[in-house]
């Protein structure tokens, strides 16, 4: 026997006993507000931490960029003087160029390798779980530790230089070359990051319907065509997300530079984050360091918007 409930015109309607009775509009709104309040309450601790440790310091940093702050003296309002100084600062433009070049070297290669590795490990084969873990290992490895080891790897007595020698190239350390230092740092950055992208793409790939690929395969499409015409378009949102994440991460590389090159040789790897660190913690010019931080934020935002336009928009 089914329960009945009044409809809005007074007539009854059959419904299964497990369905909730329809509630009047006002009651539904009250319940939704209560549920929203409960949801907000659960989210409040995380939101408070975000405000305290992320948003708050970011706003304070922006504010500090309009001051000349000296430890032991305090802050003096200087308006846009720090930004004017930044525009005329050749070291700032050099550091920005290094930052952009590093990002151009890292992001496309990292995305390509992540995609390739995700394609390789998405199939179920003996040991696939092991390989997935191994490829993710660099992501959870301390970057300082890795950078220390890679400093030796790239040294003139290290295995990389020996390999170059075997291939007929110079055995000089790549970290000592103004041309090759950025590719060397990019290699380490890619090694440490590709596992993260692989994991994200793998999760997305496993959600993709296999029927399309199977149909294409039956129609004679090879592996590359199946990837380019079927898989890749469906990965677009994920690739956009990864592009933004990886670009932001590449703009903020500090550990590698600090441990491996200290910005050398001759400022060839002196990126914007390292310049901010020098200004803030070596020279205690916190106002100018904050202005540089604002500039980095602005550049990151512009790049993210461009990426949204090129990759993230729906056709």
């Amino acid at each position: 026997m089914t329960a009945t409930a009044p409809t809005s015109d007074g007539l009854t309607a059959d419904r299964p006993p497990s369905a909730r009775p329809p509630v009047p509009g006002k009651t539904r709104r009250i319940m939704e507000r209560r549920e929203a309040r409960i949801g907000l309450l659960f989210a409040l601790p995380a939101f408070a931490l975000f405000l305290l440790f992320r948003f708050g310091p970011a706003i304070a940093g922006v504010a500090l960029s309009f001051f000349d702050y000296t430890i032991g003296v305090g802050a003096e309002w200087t308006g846009v003087e720090n930004f004017r100084r930044m525009v005329d600062d050749p070291v700032f433009w050099s550091a920005l160029r290094v930052t952009v070049v590093m990002s151009v070297l890292i992001v496309p290669v990292s995305l390509a390798i992540s995609t390739f590795m995700a394609l390789m490990v998405r199939r179920s084969f003996r040991g696939s779980g092991f390989y997935r873990s191994v490829f993710f290992l660099p992501v959870v490895t301390s970057l300082v530790l890795a950078a220390t080891v890679f400093t030796w790897v790239f040294s003139s007595n290290g295995p990389w230089s020996k390999l170059m020698g075997t291939l007929g190239f110079s055995t000089d350390s790549w970290l000592g070359s103004t041309v090759l230092v950025l590719p060397a740092l990019a290699m380490v950055a890619i090694w440490s990051r590709f596992g993260y992208g692989m994991l994200i793409l793998l999760a997305r790939m496993q959600d993709l319907p296999r029927e399309l690929e199977e149909a294409a395969s039956i129609d004679g499409a090879g592996a590359w065509k199946r990837f380019w015409h079927i898989i890749a378009p469906q990965l677009k949102p994920t690739l956009f997300f990864l592009a933004v994440i990886e670009t932001t991460a590449s703009f903020q590389i500090f550990d590698l530079v600090y441990v491996m090159t200290a910005g050398g040789p001759a400022r060839a790897s002196y990126n914007l984050v390292f310049y901010i660190y020098d200004q803030g913690f070596k020279y205690f010019d916190l106002g100018y360091a904050s202005a540089l931080g604002v500039a980095l934020f602005a550049v990151t935002l512009v790049v993210a918007v461009i990426q949204r336009y090129l990759i993230g928009r729906d056709k």
Binding site: S155, S173, Y283
Partner: protein, 424 residues
């Protein structure tokens, strides 16, 4: 109230709050007496001192300060002294952050390189050390003096003249023929290279302090980093070019380890640690004795070009003027840097006391005696508030010259062009 209005109000409140917090920083951080005078009678209050592993053995270091605290408290029973030992790494970041947040110590160990940077946060110690200042070595007193005021009371000194590896000289058949001048070193270099040794080491990474690498060469050539009044740089002089050319000649000749010009590898991986260098002015006996063997460590006066000069640091105790127990802090710092205490501390650390009356700490030890004799040739560098910023623009240019990207003249000229605006 509309959502847009609410958003505007929140944004305004946030901005006002932030500016208010910054304004609070403006007043609070700089408060305090810059030239305190000792108060009559015993001191009272709580004193926190930050120091670093000058004595490498942490337990021995702590025990030393516990003993000194007990001795101090016999005369000052109402003073509670707490000595905290921090690691060397990241000490500037930690200290600067603490001072900015008004959480800094009362007394802190600083070297001459740091004192100008923190000068606006420090109180002069002159009035607390009047009894002992006359006994200080001149170079030690100069190292802690900024604009006529002593911003630190010297605690220990060290020096890095020239340290040579006797085994290397024996191996090339030049036993006892140690270099005294740049020309001597350069004359030995090809023979050393043929035998598989470096003439010396040169830490050229931009992270390595120029005080130990380039500046000693500059001073030996008769040059200086700053002009006499400190208002401009002076390293782009003919003496500066000569000094940098010497380093470039060593690099181009293959007489120094190439990797050290641009990176700081783990010390045990370097030719220095492997006993593959003849001499160094950038390492002390304590750094190399464990690798070369103590019997092979020979300490010599610094190399001479126009002058014989070595770099050496002076560790000192400085007062932070925001201290809530400034008088107690000043009396503690004066006690901790008294001649007797510094002698015991220096000996425990393998360093030297900054006081003339505390010479001969190591008796007949040949290495330490030779080092102590070198103190007369030692400078802690040129005190200038912008010395670190100048180093920051000079080091990459020096590196560019060492790797052949620029000539020494161009490198120093470009560095001077970038450095002079920093000095105002």
């Amino acid at each position: 109230m509309t959502l847009r209005t609410t958003k505007r109000l929140w944004t305004a409140a946030l901005a006002v709050g932030t500016l208010g917090a910054l304004s609070a920083c403006a007043g609070g951080a700089g408060a305090g007496d810059s030239t305190p005078t000792p108060e009559d009678g015993a001191a009272s209050g709580s004193v926190t001192m930050w120091t670093y592993p000058v004595i490498a053995d942490e337990a021995a270091h702590k025990a030393f300060w516990d003993e000194q605290i007990a001795a101090f408290q016999e005369e000052n029973p109402d003073v509670d002294v707490n000595v905290e030992i921090y690691p060397w790494a990241g000490r500037d970041e930690t200290l600067a952050t603490a001072i900015a947040g008004n959480k800094g110590p009362d007394v802190v160990y600083l070297i001459p390189d740091q004192i100008p940077k923190y000068s606006k946060s420090l109180a002069a110690v002159d009035n607390y050390v009047t009894d002992q200042v006359g006994d200080l070595r001149e170079n030690a007193a100069q190292a802690v003096t900024v604009d006529g005021a002593m911003l630190g009371s010297p605690l220990v000194m060290n020096t890095k003249p020239l340290v040579c590896n006797a085994a290397v000289f024996d191996a090339i058949g030049e036993s006892g023929n140690y270099p005294e001048t740049w020309d001597d070193l350069m004359a030995l270099a090809p023979k050393l290279k043929d035998a598989g040794y470096d003439a010396t080491n040169y830490w050229g990474s931009v992270d390595a302090t120029l005080n130990e690498s380039f500046y000693p060469l500059l001073w030996q050539a008769g040059g200086s980093v700053f002009s006499e009044d400190g208002s401009s740089v002076a390293f782009d002089s003919p003496e500066g070019v000569e000094a940098l050319q010497f380093a470039v000649d060593l690099a181009e000749g293959g007489f120094i380890e190439k990797d050290l010009l641009t990176t700081i590898p783990a010390f045990e991986q370097t030719n220095t640690a492997k006993g593959k260098i003849a001499c160094t002015w950038q390492q002390g006996p304590g750094d190399v004795a464990g690798f070369w063997g103590e019997e092979n460590v020979v300490v010599l006066p610094p190399l001479t070009e126009a002058e014989s000069v070595a770099f050496g640091t002076v560790g000192s105790l400085s007062l932070l003027k925001t201290s809530k127990s400034l008088d107690a802090a000043g009396k503690w710092a004066a006690f901790a840097t008294s001649p007797e205490v510094t002698a015991e501390y220096a000996k425990s650390a393998g360093w030297f006391s900054p006081y003339e009356s505390e010479s001969g700490l190591y008796g007949d030890d040949p290495v330490q005696s030779a080092l102590e004799d070198s103190l007369q040739y030692t400078t802690a560098g040129e005190v200038n508030e912008k010395s670190r910023e100048v180093m920051g623009v000079l080091a990459p240019e020096i590196q560019a010259a060492l790797i052949g990207e620029k000539t020494p003249e161009q490198a120093l000229k470009d560095a001077a062009a970038a450095a002079d605006p920093l000095l105002g």
